[in-house]
Symmetry: C2
Subunit: 113 residues, 2 copies
Amino acid sequence: MIYSSELIKGTLKTIVMKLLEDNKRMYGYEITQRVKELTFDKIQITEGALYPTLHALEADGLVTTELEYNGKRARKYYSLSKEGKAKTKEKVSELADFMNTMKFLLDIQTLPA
Amino acid sequence: MIYSSELIKGTLKTIVMKLLEDNKRMYGYEITQRVKELTFDKIQITEGALYPTLHALEADGLVTTELEYNGKRARKYYSLSKEGKAKTKEKVSELADFMNTMKFLLDIQTLPA
DNA sequence: GCAAATACATAATATTCTTATGTATGTTTG
DNA sequence: CAAACATACATAAGAATATTATGTATTTGC
């Protein structure tokens, strides 16, 4: 089962930022694979969604980038800026709050923490 | 605090359907007020978002409508069709699953059920 | 050596929301 | 009693963000 794409909308940026918070630095393709792995294939981030998102984070000064070569193969590593770290905490906290509200609204049982 | 609008994206349809499941029939304006009330003003559905959503549900055969007059004031009541009821269960269940995945992915603590 | 995986990127399109606008009725309050 | 506010519907222009398709190039596995 893969979640219908509309559910991902609005959470992609937060997912990416949280991964960067946990892993210090990651490159794009790595992010898609990590999310796939961590969600048992239920969330599959497409490249057409990810790269524009990463570029937007960079344009907003929330991440910095370093281009590195592994042989001839280029990898663009992303790291949270100071501002990005603060923003990540905000975003994750807002999402947690939102999820509690949705639980209440939809009378949903989630797994215990 | 009002949630940044991007969070609502993708969940609006499910929220509306769940409310209709719980309340048998509701009209548009009532839905906006009920959501506002149930979420302590944190989620405010705009009319520009709600009405197109309701029309889409109707076009998909998931709801039926009845136009009623309260004096000269028209109200359009929405009810889930049989197909809509089944779809609502699917949607709510998928969202619950998604929220568990997000909890895990973001290492979020939600309130106990 | 060919297919699949890795790794980046962008463009056209679709979806779905915000913001703005429009119409009209009913209620409250100074 | 007029004005402001609330109720109630609706649509259109624009913004944001995803999908799908496409492109380029390198590396790995069989």
